[in-house]
């Protein structure tokens, strides 16, 4: 195996969509046995570049050289057959089928009679799962696995055959730290076998931990090709966002004695199987962080507070008045906003326009006798498009055509424009680039400064610690700890979220 041999070269790739130039003369190369990170802001064109590679999109200009030959893959399957595998962040699994079937879906091993070879199938899957250190059986139904485990199935599927290049598009967004570690081990193993890895992520610490080289994209252009060892976060971010990034997470926090009026109070909220006896409160102008591992039940708790889920028992008070649990419509009237975890499924009406989505919560107050006040709606739209810098060609653009980060901003805007008293943010920065992320963090603090009570759910420890005045840890459906910003350390939080000494620091 020759060192430094370029297995893939993408030259001068340009890709235009109607109204958008997603990629502009991008050069990208990958060598055998390297982990090549691809970074950039939301909408920079990372996913698009990979889709061009695998043949989902054909490039408007440019060529792809793979193993020394000019190629154009017909699609991901063709690419996979020729050794280039793309692993999406989005799960693409059949819930009703077993893990083994899902891994070999589309290529189930058959015996000599043409029937499916169930034994062989399960055996091969088992081997694969063992290699990935997964602790579940090939015969389990995928629908019953946790999201993180499903993600592992997705990864296993990419590795059923010998591959030359594996592309991971934001693989860790829903993985636990433990699983992330296993994933990295696997990546390293692949690298040692000479496989090239393309690794897309917004988490810079991961990039530095795993990658050999980094290609940076900004607004569809390539702004840098770096050796990881020779660069640092500062340089990287300035290449990504085109300016220097100040250490933005260093906010002024409120202390124990500065808290304002109580906005939300939750008392003994329980839901069988999801969370148990949850009590806490949030105050005016306070950012409360809720930290926990995937599956801790934070999202369900948030959904219950907002009212899209019902609880078995417990009470919720808003500004001292008890509110009916399980009525989201009422919650919006009362001024509770909720940015859910899953943008596409829970946050957006993908087929409708940016304008429609942005004003969806507000229009209940934007009408006379039921008729929407079109001009005011438009004004609000412009206001928030401006404030949050939402990149869209027009207000009529279908929201599904925006990049992930801009979609997230639309959802934020949807809630900000109702002037909420309480804003719940569930993983507000998942899949969002550092620049936008910093903006969102600043925004959160600004909202708090304006007197809004903010509940932030995040799996990213620095994020929670960075923005919150106070942090709750959650483990297995129970609250295991409460820390003020000044006393919170990563160590303490980890104890809380992993259940070590659970109960020892439990709050009432």
């Amino acid at each position: 195996m020759k060192e430094n041999e370029c297995i893939l070269e993408m030259r001068n790739i340009t890709k235009t969509f109607p109204g958008v130039k997603a990629l502009d003369k991008v050069n990208f190369e990958v060598k055998k046995g390297e982990v090549h990170a691809l970074v950039g802001e939301n909408g920079a064109g990372k996913s698009t570049l990979m889709k061009v590679l695998s043949g989902i999109h054909s490039p408007s200009e440019g060529e792809i050289i793979y193993q020394g030959k000019k190629v154009e893959f017909a699609g991901p399957l063709d690419a996979k057959a020729k050794g280039v595998v793309l692993i999406h962040q989005e799960l693409s699994l059949v819930d009703e089928m077993t893990v083994a079937e899902n891994i070999f879906l589309g290529d189930l091993p058959r015996n000599k009679f043409g029937f499916i070879d169930w034994k062989g199938l399960n055996k091969r899957s088992k081997e694969l799962l063992e290699r990935l250190e997964c602790e579940f059986e090939p015969t389990e139904l995928v629908g019953r696995l946790s999201i993180a485990r499903q993600q592992m199935v997705e990864i296993a599927r990419g590795l059923t055959q010998d591959v030359n290049i594996v592309v991971f598009d934001e693989p860790t967004a829903s993985l636990t730290q433990e699983e992330e570690k296993v994933l990295f081990e696997n990546i390293n193993r692949l690298r040692e076998q000479g496989t090239a890895i393309v690794y897309i992520s917004h988490r810079l610490n991961e990039i530095f931990q795993i990658s050999d080289r980094i290609t940076v994209l900004r607004d569809g252009e390539m702004t840098g090709l770096l050796n990881t060892a020779e660069t640092n976060e500062c340089e990287l971010t300035s290449l990504m966002i085109g300016r220097d990034l100040e250490d933005h997470l260093d906010f002024e926090k409120r202390g124990r004695d500065e808290i304002g009026k109580e906005v939300l109070k939750v008392e003994g909220l329980s839901k069988d199987g999801l969370f148990n006896d949850i009590s806490f409160s949030i105050h005016e102008g306070e950012v409360l962080g809720l930290s926990g591992l995937v599956g801790a039940g934070r999202s369900e708790l948030a959904e219950t507070i907002f009212g899209v889920r019902k609880a078995d028992s417990g009470k919720i008070f808003l500004e001292g008045d008890e509110i009916k649990v399980g009525d989201a419509n009422k919650s919006v009237d009362l001024g509770i906003g909720f940015v859910p975890e899953n943008r596409k499924e829970q946050g957006l009406i993908l087929g409708r326009s940016v304008l429609d989505n942005l004003s969806l919560a507000k229009i209940r107050n934007l009408n006379r006798y039921g008729f929407i006040k079109g001009r005011e709606e438009k004004l609000i739209y412009q206001d928030y498009q401006d404030k949050l810098d939402i990149k869209t060609p027009s207000s009529k653009q279908q929201v599904k055509n925006l990049s992930g980060g801009n979609q997230q901003k639309v959802i934020m805007a949807k809630w900000l424009c109702i002037n909420p008293k309480l804003l719940i943010l569930d993983e507000p920065t998942v899949g969002i680039d550092v620049g936008t992320k910093a903006e969102i963090h600043k925004l959160i603090r600004k909202l708090a400064a304006a007197g809004i009570a903010v509940l932030v759910i995040s799996s990213e420890m620095p994020e929670v610690m960075g923005v919150s005045d106070r942090i709750l840890t959650m483990y297995h459906g129970e609250i295991t700890g409460e820390f003020y910003a000044e006393e919170a350390t990563e160590e303490k939080l980890i104890k809380g979220i992993t259940g070590i000494e659970a109960g020892a620091c439990k709050v009432g």
Partner: protein, 322 residues
């Protein structure tokens, strides 16, 4: 949104409700038998049971095609019309000999199925609209072809196909059961079968995994057309004639039977053994209500209510919790 079992929920001890849900169709089956045999003494006679099987076999044959289709997340409203078309064709072409006539009408049924499949897959039009179009269109063809009249077969041998029996089992029943078993094997042990589950379970995942989704769906539409044609031919043989109004409501009865059997309306789950249960229950109810002399309006009311309760069950039933 995916519903997932929570982490704290452990299911190890026997749960009656769980068991009931898992086996609902067979429980209904038993209840039906008990109810009708108490209500009418004739119900459990061997001849009546053969009768129920015979009557059910036509709906049953069609339900095989429909099960495949519904597992992959589609359905076919045109099956009743295809059945009528093949019935009139098989009689219309009787002069060329039975084998030719039978082959031809099987071909015609499959061709319409293929057409349905092509439009659902290649043009991306919803199965509801595509098969609604062909439901009416094919029925129109039948009227035009027959000049609105019934066609009668001159060939007595043809009517013996349906009348024949192997041992005590009438030929249509035998055909039904053999196809059912074969169909179930294919569902379980071939890539076509597993492909259907994958497509119905998660269409996008199936495409991403390189399953030739269109091919499988078209095959299933052809199968639906084929089974409808087969049922039509057997029906024509049974009546030694074919009327243009044949099978007007059959597509819905077939869908009801399949859903009653527990095949999920949105695909990804179900099998033919369950469908057999659904078919037999519908057959028993139709037969039993005849024996019970239920007023025809009430009969209609009961069928409507059954349909609604079937959907209620479908909604409550989550295969992942099995």
């Amino acid at each position: 949104m995916k519903s997932k079992t929570g982490i704290m929920k452990v299911k190890d001890n026997f749960d009656i409700w769980d068991f009931v849900q898992k086996n609902s169709i067979w429980l209904i089956f038993v209840i039906c038998i008990v109810f009708f045999s108490i209500m009418t003494p004739n119900f459990l006679r061997v001849r009546n049971i053969t009768n129920i099987f015979l009557q059910s076999s036509f709906i049953g044959i069609m339900s095989i095609g429909m099960t495949y289709l519904m597992i992959d997340g589609n359905f076919d409203l045109s099956m009743g019309s295809i059945m009528a078309l093949s019935a009139v064709l098989v009689i219309g072409f009787m002069d060329y000999g039975i084998p030719v006539a039978v082959l031809l009408s099987l071909l015609a049924g499959s061709a319409i199925g293929a057409l349905n499949g092509l439009f659902v897959t290649k043009a991306g039009i919803n199965a509801f609209i595509v098969t609604l179009g062909s439901m009416l269109g094919v029925r129109g063809l039948v009227y035009i072809y027959t000049g609105e009249r019934a066609l009668v077969s001159s060939e007595l041998a043809f009517s013996e196909i349906s009348a024949a029996s192997v041992g005590p089992i009438p030929l249509p029943v035998l055909i039904f059961l053999i196809m059912l078993i074969l169909g179930e094997l294919v569902l379980r042990y071939t890539s076509h079968g597993r492909g259907c589950y994958a497509i119905g379970g998660n269409y996008e995942a199936a495409v991403n995994a390189g399953i030739k989704v269109d091919k499988h769906i078209i095959i299933n539409f052809i199968l639906a057309g084929f089974t409808a044609a087969l049922a039509g031919i057997l029906m024509a043989s049974r009546m030694n004639a074919a009327t243009p109004t044949l099978g007007m409501e059959d597509h819905m009865i077939v869908i009801t039977a399949v859903v009653l059997g527990g095949t999920k309306l949105d695909g990804g789950f179900g099998n033919l053994i369950r469908t057999l249960g659904g078919v037999l229950v519908i057959g028993m109810i139709r037969n039993g209500m005849n024996l019970l002399n239920v007023h025809s309006y009430v009969n209609m009311l009961i069928m409507g209510l059954i349909l609604i309760s079937v959907v209620y069950m479908d909604q409550k039933f989550d295969p992942l919790e099995e």
